[in-house]
Protein backbone atom coordinates (compact mmCIF):
# COMPACT_ATOMS: atom_id res chain seq x y z
CA UNK A 1 0.00 0.00 0.00
CA UNK A 2 1.30 3.37 -0.97
CA UNK A 3 0.79 6.43 1.09
CA UNK A 4 1.13 9.99 -0.12
CA UNK A 5 2.74 12.44 2.23
CA UNK A 6 2.88 16.10 1.42
CA UNK A 7 4.65 19.21 2.52
CA UNK A 8 3.77 22.78 1.68
CA UNK A 9 5.89 25.89 1.86
CA UNK A 10 3.98 29.14 2.35
CA UNK A 11 5.37 32.54 1.45
CA UNK A 12 3.74 34.22 4.44
CA UNK A 13 4.80 37.75 3.54
CA UNK A 14 2.83 37.53 0.29
CA UNK A 15 -0.25 35.83 1.79
CA UNK A 16 -3.35 38.06 2.01
CA UNK A 17 -5.36 35.76 4.26
CA UNK A 18 -8.30 35.28 1.89
CA UNK A 19 -8.97 31.82 3.39
CA UNK A 20 -9.81 30.19 0.05
CA UNK A 21 -7.11 27.54 0.59
CA UNK A 22 -8.49 26.70 4.03
CA UNK A 23 -11.84 25.92 2.41
CA UNK A 24 -10.21 23.96 -0.43
CA UNK A 25 -8.08 21.72 1.82
CA UNK A 26 -9.71 18.28 2.17
CA UNK A 27 -7.57 17.39 5.21
CA UNK A 28 -8.17 20.56 7.28
CA UNK A 29 -4.44 21.15 7.39
CA UNK A 30 -4.53 24.93 7.03
CA UNK A 31 -5.68 27.71 9.35
CA UNK A 32 -5.17 31.43 9.78
CA UNK A 33 -2.34 32.54 12.02
CA UNK A 34 -2.78 34.43 15.26
CA UNK A 35 -0.18 36.98 14.18
CA UNK A 36 0.04 39.25 11.13
CA UNK A 37 2.61 39.73 8.38
CA UNK A 38 4.21 43.03 7.40
CA UNK A 39 1.23 43.97 5.26
CA UNK A 40 -1.12 43.53 8.21
CA UNK A 41 -2.84 40.38 6.99
CA UNK A 42 -3.32 37.23 9.00
CA UNK A 43 -1.54 34.56 6.98
CA UNK A 44 -2.13 30.87 6.45
CA UNK A 45 -0.20 28.30 8.46
CA UNK A 46 -0.04 24.53 8.50
CA UNK A 47 -1.63 23.22 11.69
CA UNK A 48 -1.29 19.44 11.38
CA UNK A 49 0.55 16.73 9.46
CA UNK A 50 -2.37 15.32 7.49
CA UNK A 51 -1.22 16.94 4.23
CA UNK A 52 -1.26 14.52 1.29
CA UNK A 53 0.22 16.96 -1.21
CA UNK A 54 -2.93 17.11 -3.33
CA UNK A 55 -2.16 20.70 -4.33
CA UNK A 56 -5.71 22.04 -4.00
CA UNK A 57 -4.56 24.91 -1.78
CA UNK A 58 -1.93 25.98 -4.30
CA UNK A 59 -4.31 25.76 -7.26
CA UNK A 60 -6.97 27.95 -5.63
CA UNK A 61 -4.46 30.43 -4.12
CA UNK A 62 -4.85 33.71 -6.03
CA UNK A 63 -1.42 34.98 -5.11
CA UNK A 64 0.53 31.78 -5.79
CA UNK A 65 2.16 31.77 -2.36
CA UNK A 66 2.07 27.99 -1.81
CA UNK A 67 4.62 25.49 -3.10
CA UNK A 68 3.61 21.84 -2.81
CA UNK A 69 5.81 18.74 -2.53
CA UNK A 70 4.55 15.19 -2.47
CA UNK A 71 6.27 11.92 -1.76
CA UNK A 72 4.72 8.50 -2.25
CA UNK A 73 5.80 6.14 0.49
CA UNK A 74 5.63 2.37 0.33
CA UNK A 75 4.04 1.17 3.52
CA UNK A 76 4.26 -2.57 4.26
CA UNK A 77 0.90 -4.26 4.38
CA UNK A 78 -0.29 -5.24 7.85
CA UNK A 79 0.11 -9.02 8.21
CA UNK A 80 -3.06 -10.95 7.66
CA UNK A 81 -3.92 -13.50 10.25
CA UNK A 82 -5.03 -16.83 8.82
CA UNK A 83 -6.84 -18.07 11.86
Amino acid sequence: MAKAIGEILINIERCKGCELCILACPESTLALSKTINHKGYQYVVKVNDNCTGCGNCAIICPDAVITVYRKILKVPKPEMSNS
Binding site: G17, N48, D63, T67
Partner: protein, 264 residues
Protein backbone atom coordinates in the same frame (compact mmCIF):
# COMPACT_ATOMS: atom_id res chain seq x y z
CA UNK B 1 -3.19 9.99 13.20
CA UNK B 2 -1.34 10.75 10.05
CA UNK B 3 2.21 9.55 9.84
CA UNK B 4 3.28 8.53 13.32
CA UNK B 5 5.04 5.34 12.21
CA UNK B 6 6.52 6.62 9.02
CA UNK B 7 9.43 8.53 10.45
CA UNK B 8 9.64 11.03 7.62
CA UNK B 9 11.33 14.35 8.01
CA UNK B 10 10.48 17.46 6.05
CA UNK B 11 13.85 17.52 4.28
CA UNK B 12 13.02 14.16 2.71
CA UNK B 13 9.91 15.57 1.09
CA UNK B 14 11.06 19.02 0.05
CA UNK B 15 13.17 17.95 -2.91
CA UNK B 16 12.95 19.00 -6.57
CA UNK B 17 11.83 15.52 -7.68
CA UNK B 18 8.83 15.67 -5.33
CA UNK B 19 7.64 19.07 -6.55
CA UNK B 20 3.92 19.09 -7.34
CA UNK B 21 3.16 22.76 -7.66
CA UNK B 22 5.13 25.99 -7.68
CA UNK B 23 4.56 29.56 -8.76
CA UNK B 24 4.92 29.73 -12.57
CA UNK B 25 8.19 31.31 -13.69
CA UNK B 26 6.30 33.43 -16.21
CA UNK B 27 4.54 35.26 -13.38
CA UNK B 28 6.81 38.08 -12.20
CA UNK B 29 7.87 37.58 -8.59
CA UNK B 30 6.18 40.63 -7.06
CA UNK B 31 3.17 41.26 -4.84
CA UNK B 32 -0.02 41.72 -6.85
CA UNK B 33 -2.11 44.78 -6.01
CA UNK B 34 -5.40 42.88 -6.19
CA UNK B 35 -7.66 42.56 -3.15
CA UNK B 36 -7.46 39.33 -1.09
CA UNK B 37 -9.26 36.50 -2.88
CA UNK B 38 -9.67 38.39 -6.18
CA UNK B 39 -10.30 36.22 -9.23
CA UNK B 40 -7.96 38.37 -11.36
CA UNK B 41 -4.91 37.02 -9.57
CA UNK B 42 -6.06 33.43 -10.05
CA UNK B 43 -6.61 33.98 -13.76
CA UNK B 44 -3.21 35.71 -14.13
CA UNK B 45 -1.63 32.72 -12.44
CA UNK B 46 -3.31 29.98 -14.47
CA UNK B 47 -2.81 31.81 -17.75
CA UNK B 48 0.88 32.20 -17.02
CA UNK B 49 0.99 28.48 -16.17
CA UNK B 50 -0.48 27.75 -19.61
CA UNK B 51 2.11 30.01 -21.26
CA UNK B 52 4.91 28.28 -19.35
CA UNK B 53 3.65 24.78 -20.14
CA UNK B 54 3.22 25.55 -23.85
CA UNK B 55 6.69 27.16 -23.94
CA UNK B 56 5.44 30.27 -25.75
CA UNK B 57 6.69 32.95 -23.39
CA UNK B 58 8.65 34.68 -26.17
CA UNK B 59 5.94 34.16 -28.80
CA UNK B 60 2.97 35.73 -27.08
CA UNK B 61 1.90 39.36 -26.92
CA UNK B 62 -0.78 40.59 -24.56
CA UNK B 63 -2.91 43.70 -24.49
CA UNK B 64 -3.78 45.04 -21.05
CA UNK B 65 -7.11 46.82 -20.55
CA UNK B 66 -8.24 49.69 -18.36
CA UNK B 67 -9.71 48.55 -15.06
CA UNK B 68 -8.35 46.69 -12.06
CA UNK B 69 -6.22 44.56 -14.38
CA UNK B 70 -4.54 47.59 -15.97
CA UNK B 71 -1.30 46.51 -14.30
CA UNK B 72 -1.40 43.04 -15.87
CA UNK B 73 1.86 43.95 -17.60
CA UNK B 74 3.52 44.28 -14.20
CA UNK B 75 2.74 40.66 -13.37
CA UNK B 76 2.85 38.74 -16.64
CA UNK B 77 6.39 38.19 -17.87
CA UNK B 78 5.45 38.36 -21.55
CA UNK B 79 5.42 41.21 -24.08
CA UNK B 80 2.51 43.46 -23.21
CA UNK B 81 0.86 46.50 -24.69
CA UNK B 82 -1.55 48.94 -23.06
CA UNK B 83 -4.73 49.92 -24.86
CA UNK B 84 -7.10 52.85 -24.26
CA UNK B 85 -10.29 52.01 -22.41
CA UNK B 86 -12.21 49.31 -24.31
CA UNK B 87 -9.93 49.31 -27.35
CA UNK B 88 -7.86 46.23 -26.51
CA UNK B 89 -9.36 44.12 -29.33
CA UNK B 90 -8.61 46.88 -31.86
CA UNK B 91 -4.99 47.14 -30.68
CA UNK B 92 -4.68 43.34 -30.70
CA UNK B 93 -6.01 43.28 -34.28
CA UNK B 94 -3.16 45.55 -35.34
CA UNK B 95 -0.54 43.50 -33.50
CA UNK B 96 -1.83 40.22 -34.95
CA UNK B 97 -1.90 41.57 -38.49
CA UNK B 98 1.67 42.86 -38.28
CA UNK B 99 2.97 39.78 -36.48
CA UNK B 100 0.71 36.92 -37.61
CA UNK B 101 3.01 34.22 -36.21
CA UNK B 102 2.76 35.44 -32.63
CA UNK B 103 0.04 34.49 -30.19
CA UNK B 104 -1.98 37.57 -29.29
CA UNK B 105 -4.37 37.88 -26.37
CA UNK B 106 -6.36 40.62 -24.72
CA UNK B 107 -7.25 40.56 -21.06
CA UNK B 108 -10.38 42.60 -20.34
CA UNK B 109 -12.95 43.08 -17.64
CA UNK B 110 -16.66 43.48 -18.17
CA UNK B 111 -16.60 47.27 -17.95
CA UNK B 112 -13.87 47.38 -20.56
CA UNK B 113 -15.08 44.71 -22.98
CA UNK B 114 -18.85 44.73 -22.61
CA UNK B 115 -19.53 48.44 -21.96
CA UNK B 116 -17.03 50.89 -23.38
CA UNK B 117 -15.45 48.46 -25.82
CA UNK B 118 -18.55 46.61 -27.06
CA UNK B 119 -18.16 48.08 -30.52
CA UNK B 120 -14.48 47.19 -30.93
CA UNK B 121 -14.89 43.73 -29.41
CA UNK B 122 -17.96 42.87 -31.46
CA UNK B 123 -16.35 43.93 -34.72
CA UNK B 124 -13.05 42.21 -33.97
CA UNK B 125 -15.11 39.05 -33.39
CA UNK B 126 -17.13 39.62 -36.54
CA UNK B 127 -13.97 40.11 -38.63
CA UNK B 128 -12.74 36.78 -37.29
CA UNK B 129 -9.45 38.15 -36.00
CA UNK B 130 -7.18 35.38 -34.76
CA UNK B 131 -6.91 36.63 -31.21
CA UNK B 132 -7.81 35.30 -27.79
CA UNK B 133 -9.89 37.50 -25.55
CA UNK B 134 -9.94 36.66 -21.85
CA UNK B 135 -13.10 38.28 -20.51
CA UNK B 136 -13.26 38.64 -16.74
CA UNK B 137 -16.89 39.05 -15.75
CA UNK B 138 -17.46 40.12 -12.15
CA UNK B 139 -20.71 42.00 -12.78
CA UNK B 140 -19.50 45.39 -11.49
CA UNK B 141 -17.01 48.11 -12.36
CA UNK B 142 -14.28 47.03 -9.95
CA UNK B 143 -11.64 49.74 -10.12
CA UNK B 144 -14.02 52.68 -9.80
CA UNK B 145 -15.64 51.25 -6.64
CA UNK B 146 -18.44 49.02 -7.84
CA UNK B 147 -20.82 50.87 -10.12
CA UNK B 148 -23.42 48.95 -12.12
CA UNK B 149 -22.00 47.37 -15.28
CA UNK B 150 -23.92 46.04 -18.31
CA UNK B 151 -23.32 42.56 -16.92
CA UNK B 152 -24.82 43.29 -13.47
CA UNK B 153 -27.61 40.79 -12.91
CA UNK B 154 -31.20 41.72 -12.18
CA UNK B 155 -31.76 42.80 -8.58
CA UNK B 156 -28.07 43.06 -7.75
CA UNK B 157 -27.16 45.97 -5.47
CA UNK B 158 -24.31 48.21 -6.60
CA UNK B 159 -23.35 51.78 -5.76
CA UNK B 160 -25.33 53.14 -8.72
CA UNK B 161 -28.25 50.72 -8.31
CA UNK B 162 -28.71 50.87 -4.52
CA UNK B 163 -32.20 49.30 -4.70
CA UNK B 164 -31.05 46.52 -7.00
CA UNK B 165 -30.90 46.57 -10.79
CA UNK B 166 -34.38 47.29 -12.13
CA UNK B 167 -34.53 46.00 -15.70
CA UNK B 168 -37.45 48.29 -16.57
CA UNK B 169 -35.36 51.42 -16.19
CA UNK B 170 -31.78 50.12 -16.41
CA UNK B 171 -32.08 47.50 -19.11
CA UNK B 172 -31.28 43.83 -19.09
CA UNK B 173 -27.89 42.31 -18.28
CA UNK B 174 -25.74 41.61 -21.32
CA UNK B 175 -24.57 38.09 -22.05
CA UNK B 176 -21.65 38.96 -24.28
CA UNK B 177 -20.55 35.38 -24.89
CA UNK B 178 -23.97 34.37 -26.21
CA UNK B 179 -24.11 37.60 -28.20
CA UNK B 180 -21.01 36.90 -30.30
CA UNK B 181 -21.27 33.10 -30.51
CA UNK B 182 -23.45 33.03 -33.68
CA UNK B 183 -21.00 35.21 -35.67
CA UNK B 184 -19.21 33.19 -38.38
CA UNK B 185 -15.78 34.69 -37.53
CA UNK B 186 -15.93 33.36 -34.00
CA UNK B 187 -14.27 29.99 -33.43
CA UNK B 188 -14.48 29.27 -29.74
CA UNK B 189 -16.66 30.72 -27.00
CA UNK B 190 -16.74 29.30 -23.52
CA UNK B 191 -17.73 30.43 -20.05
CA UNK B 192 -15.74 29.26 -17.04
CA UNK B 193 -15.13 30.34 -13.46
CA UNK B 194 -12.34 30.15 -10.87
CA UNK B 195 -14.28 29.88 -7.62
CA UNK B 196 -13.46 26.23 -6.87
CA UNK B 197 -10.50 23.97 -7.57
CA UNK B 198 -12.22 21.90 -10.33
CA UNK B 199 -13.34 25.10 -12.03
CA UNK B 200 -9.81 26.50 -11.95
CA UNK B 201 -8.57 23.33 -13.66
CA UNK B 202 -11.30 23.56 -16.32
CA UNK B 203 -10.55 27.22 -16.96
CA UNK B 204 -6.90 26.41 -17.46
CA UNK B 205 -7.81 23.76 -20.03
CA UNK B 206 -10.10 26.20 -21.82
CA UNK B 207 -7.31 28.79 -22.07
CA UNK B 208 -4.96 26.15 -23.43
CA UNK B 209 -7.51 25.05 -26.04
CA UNK B 210 -8.10 28.65 -27.09
CA UNK B 211 -4.38 29.15 -27.76
CA UNK B 212 -4.30 25.90 -29.75
CA UNK B 213 -7.20 27.15 -31.87
CA UNK B 214 -5.35 30.39 -32.43
CA UNK B 215 -2.32 28.44 -33.64
CA UNK B 216 -4.61 26.72 -36.15
CA UNK B 217 -5.90 30.16 -37.25
CA UNK B 218 -9.54 29.25 -36.69
CA UNK B 219 -10.75 32.69 -35.70
CA UNK B 220 -11.75 34.74 -32.70
CA UNK B 221 -11.69 32.95 -29.33
CA UNK B 222 -13.45 34.25 -26.22
CA UNK B 223 -12.94 32.73 -22.80
CA UNK B 224 -15.35 34.37 -20.39
CA UNK B 225 -14.45 33.80 -16.74
CA UNK B 226 -17.06 34.58 -14.10
CA UNK B 227 -15.16 35.82 -11.05
CA UNK B 228 -15.79 37.45 -7.71
CA UNK B 229 -15.25 41.02 -6.57
CA UNK B 230 -15.18 40.74 -2.76
CA UNK B 231 -14.46 44.42 -2.07
CA UNK B 232 -17.22 45.88 -4.22
CA UNK B 233 -19.76 43.21 -3.41
CA UNK B 234 -19.05 44.03 0.28
CA UNK B 235 -18.34 40.38 1.12
CA UNK B 236 -15.36 38.40 2.30
CA UNK B 237 -13.63 36.19 -0.32
CA UNK B 238 -15.33 32.98 0.83
CA UNK B 239 -18.80 34.58 0.80
CA UNK B 240 -18.14 36.13 -2.60
CA UNK B 241 -17.27 32.74 -4.07
CA UNK B 242 -20.53 31.38 -2.64
CA UNK B 243 -22.34 34.27 -4.30
CA UNK B 244 -20.71 33.32 -7.60
CA UNK B 245 -21.88 29.74 -7.16
CA UNK B 246 -25.39 30.42 -5.93
CA UNK B 247 -26.40 33.58 -7.78
CA UNK B 248 -24.15 34.61 -10.66
CA UNK B 249 -23.83 31.16 -12.19
CA UNK B 250 -27.63 30.82 -12.26
CA UNK B 251 -27.68 33.65 -14.78
CA UNK B 252 -24.32 32.86 -16.43
CA UNK B 253 -24.30 29.07 -16.84
CA UNK B 254 -20.86 27.52 -17.29
CA UNK B 255 -19.79 25.52 -20.28
CA UNK B 256 -18.77 25.70 -23.93
CA UNK B 257 -21.06 27.85 -26.05
CA UNK B 258 -19.33 27.35 -29.38
CA UNK B 259 -16.59 24.84 -30.19
CA UNK B 260 -14.90 24.39 -33.58
CA UNK B 261 -15.06 20.97 -35.19
CA UNK B 262 -11.33 20.44 -34.89
CA UNK B 263 -9.76 18.22 -32.29
CA UNK B 264 -6.63 19.53 -30.61
Amino acid sequence: MAHENLDVIVEDIVKPENLVYRRPSTLIDVDMHYCPGCGHSTVHKIFMEVVEEMGIQHDIIGVAPVGCSVFAYSYMDVDMHQAPHGRACAVATGIKRVLPDKYVFTYQGDGDLAAIGTNESLHAANRGENILTIFINNAVYGMTSGQMAPTTIEGMITTTSPYGRDVKSMGYPLKFAELIAPLPGVAYVTRQSVHTVPNVRKTKKALQRALEYQRLKLGFCLVEIVTNCPSNWKMNPVESNKFVQNTLLQFYPLGDIKVPEVRV
